[in-house]
């Protein structure tokens, strides 16, 4: 049992290191994909001689005077020490910008997950309990439409209707919440304003997830309800409500919770467009600004941060499930 778990963790750790290595190569090569001399593309000569200092800084950041292997080496060492380059318009280190924007994205992701699970679980249970009825097909049809609804369309629609026409909720702006102060000490929490600002973005992000989670829970739940222990519970005279919530929900929720866990990583990067439309100063907004100003080194750093977060979060989720559920480590270790 122990060795099985340890072997699983060791395998996953090796995989983690390999993936991180390839991610570092990939992001390193991104800058080299730029046509022509990267320094010239990033800070064109047309901008005048006063940019010579920035250009020199950029050359140092990129290590362009070294061989390709040497450049990669200094890039990786820099990453490991937390040097993510500079934003050339302001001279700020990118790591500071990450400290400001990452908590925004993290909180958005957490709210979206909470909202989607709060809605998906009752709906999934209801659809499974009434499987094959009109209620079920109504829930299914609407979840089908929600799945096809792009995030940005919903974001634009909600900010137009709720924000601009009805004036119920703010559609832009951000006040620091409970997480920001841990990353950037100068932020002071304004929880009420923060939560109000976050409602629309979180709901937008949650809608697509509701459909996904609901469907997963529904199909697992239908299977669970065929089990003998459910028949037994019914025979004992336990109420339907209690059977559904106390007996059937837990064994049915494994798939849904795993997908939710893996979504943690996806939502951090996948929320870009939502952050941009609602003007939230998260990672997505920073990426957008970096693209707009063609600040390539900055962009490269954000890609690194998101990719590493994504890989590490997925590793942790896998790890957690392997600890919680022995079947996973057995299933994923080839005989």
């Amino acid at each position: 049992m122990r060795t099985e778990l340890l072997r699983f963790i060791a395998r996953r750790l090796v995989q983690l290191v390999i993936v991180l290595f390839v991610v570092s190569i990939f992001t390193f090569l991104l800058i080299r994909l730029l046509p022509g001399d990267p320094v010239q593309t990033i800070i064109p000569f047309a901008k005048g001689p006063q940019f010579a200092k920035e250009r020199a800084q950029l050359r140092r950041d990129l290590g362009l005077n070294k061989s390709l292997l040497g450049q990669y080496w200094s890039y990786v060492i820099g990453l490991l020490q937390g040097h993510l380059g500079h934003q050339y318009s302001s001279g700020l280190p990118v790591s500071t910008l990450v400290d400001q924007s990452l908590p925004v994205s993290l909180q958005l992701m957490i709210y979206a997950q909470v909202i989607s699970l709060v809605f998906a679980i009752p709906l999934g249970i209801l659809a499974a309990y009434r499987a094959g009825t009109k209620t079920d097909s109504a829930i299914n049809t609407s979840s089908f439409a929600l799945l096809a609804l792009p995030n940005f369309v919903l974001a634009l629609f909600l900010s137009f209707l709720i924000g601009a026409k009805l004036h119920w909720l703010p559609t832009a702006g951000y006040a620091p919440g409970w997480l920001d102060q841990f990353f950037d000490g100068s932020q002071h929490m304004q929880l009420g304003q923060h939560l109000t600002d976050m409602i629309l973005p979180s709901v937008t992000l949650a809608v697509g997830q509701i459909a996904v989670y609901m469907r997963l829970l529904r199909s697992d739940m239908i299977a669970t309800l065929q089990e003998n222990f459910i028949t037994l519970a019914k025979a004992k005279g336990i109420t339907n409500r209690r059977i559904l919530w106390r007996h059937a929900l837990r064994p049915s929720s494994l798939t849904m919770l795993t997908v939710a866990g893996l979504n943690v990583g996806t939502l951090i990067g996948g929320a870009i467009v939502v952050e941009v439309i609602y003007d939230l100063p998260g990672m997505g907004e920073k990426i957008f600004q970096a693209v707009e100003s063609r600040s390539y080194v900055e962009l490269q750093s954000y890609v690194v941060v998101i990719a590493v977060l994504f890989v590490v979060v997925n590793f942790l989720v896998d790890f957690l499930y392997a600890v919680l559920d022995p079947r996973i480590r057995r299933a994923r270790t080839p005989a």
Partner: protein
């Protein structure tokens, strides 16, 4: 081609969370007893297809079809919704082709009429006579731009999915057929590509490939090509894992052994024996893939890395005039609605195709 023999159908796949909602009793993921490996990373991304990606999910034995499980004629037994979806797609494709070839003109998509700027249905500036759907912020006719934008959006999405299917599908078949070291390397490559969020990967690829700022004329590659490449590369691992799993199960069948015994080379077996069998499963996800690629084009455009003006695409029409959401909502919502309806139609048709190529357990 064994696929055409009644009684042989593509292997049963598990109902995906995306659409294959199992009826009561068919069991879904099998509840508490389900092997935990049913949980795959690719199901985690709702914006991607819920691809079933591993050999473990495929039951190697083909399921014998019941009397009604044989081949049906195309179009037989389609419901009204499916016909509406088909009609919608035909309409969009027709408009796009007509706009691009110029056979029918709805006006010049680049001609700006100052008096019409930002006007349109529901706009604060009032409606624009002579322009049914109004004009954009600099007075260009929306119908002309949406029609040409349809071409650009379809070109990018169909092109990207073609790239993903040719490369991803090919690599997947190679990985599934050869197994061993080849499989380890290719599957590892797929996993690495999947380890960066798809939209971030596509965004980075387009931003860096487009290179030179501001001006589209300065870049070496046309925008549609860069977008096809970026979205195509992102879709390679998703498609690759499906075709690998499918090829893996088919390559263990007797007809492959028979072909090998007759002296067929690996290349011939992969193309003549495996490809026809893997193709149906692949085709059924192609439509969903195109839907996702259309949405991806829109997303990338809003993020500032789409097709660059003056060429219109559905995405960049939204991106250009997003600031006018309050005063001229029609500019933003017309392409949005087109994207949504097209994605919905393709999703639905993808679902129809998938259930056609599958035999439900209840059909045994």
């Amino acid at each position: 081609m064994p696929c055409s023999i009644p009684g042989f159908v593509v292997p049963e796949r598990r109902p995906s969370p995306r659409g294959g909602a199992p009826g009561p009793g068919t069991g879904g993921f099998g509840g508490p007893g389900a092997p935990a490996d049913a949980i795959r990373r690719d199901e985690a991304d709702p914006s991607s297809l819920a691809f079933e990606g591993d050999a473990g999910l495929l039951q190697v034995d083909a399921v014998a079809a019941g009397p009604e499980g044989g081949r049906r004629r195309l179009g037989q037994g389609l419901n009204v919704t499916a016909w509406v979806a088909i009609a919608w797609m035909a309409f969009i494709v027709l408009i796009a082709v007509l706009a691009k070839t110029g056979l029918v003109t709805w006006g010049d998509p680049q001609n700006s009429i100052a008096s019409c700027a930002s006007k349109g249905p529901f706009a604060q500036g009032g409606s624009a006579p002579g322009h049914l759907l109004g004009c954009d912020s600099i007075g260009r006719d929306m119908i002309a731009r949406l029609a040409l934008g349809a071409w650009e959006s379809l070109l990018v999405s169909v092109g990207a999915i073609t790239v993903g299917f040719v490369i991803g599908g090919g690599l997947g078949i190679i990985a599934g057929y050869f197994g061993g070291f080849v499989d380890t390397v290719l599957s590892g490559m797929f996993n690495v590509l999947l380890s960066v969020p798809a939209i971030v990967l596509a965004l980075a690829l387009v931003a860096f490939l487009q290179g030179s700022p501001e001006n589209a004329a300065n870049s070496t590659l046309p925008d549609w090509f860069v977008l096809i490449l970026a979205i195509g590369i992102v879709s390679i691992p998703l498609v690759g894992r499906i075709s690998r799993a499918s090829a893996l199960s088919w390559s263990q069948r007797e007809f492959v052994l028979a072909a090998r015994a007759q002296g067929a080379k690996s290349g011939r077996i992969m193309i003549r024996e495996l490809l026809p069998n893997v193709a149906p499963a692949m085709f059924s996800i192609a439509l969903l893939g195109i839907a996702i690629a259309i949405v991806a084009e829109g997303t990338l455009a809003i993020l500032g890395v789409g097709v660059r003006p003056p060429t219109p695409s559905w995405g960049n029409i939204i991106a250009l005039d997003r600031g006018l959401l309050l005063t001229s909502p029609h500019i933003v919502f017309e392409p949005s609605i087109l994207i949504f309806l097209t994605a919905l139609a393709l999703n639905y048709l993808g679902d129809v195709v998938r259930t056609r190529f599958e035999v439900r357990e209840s059909g045994i």
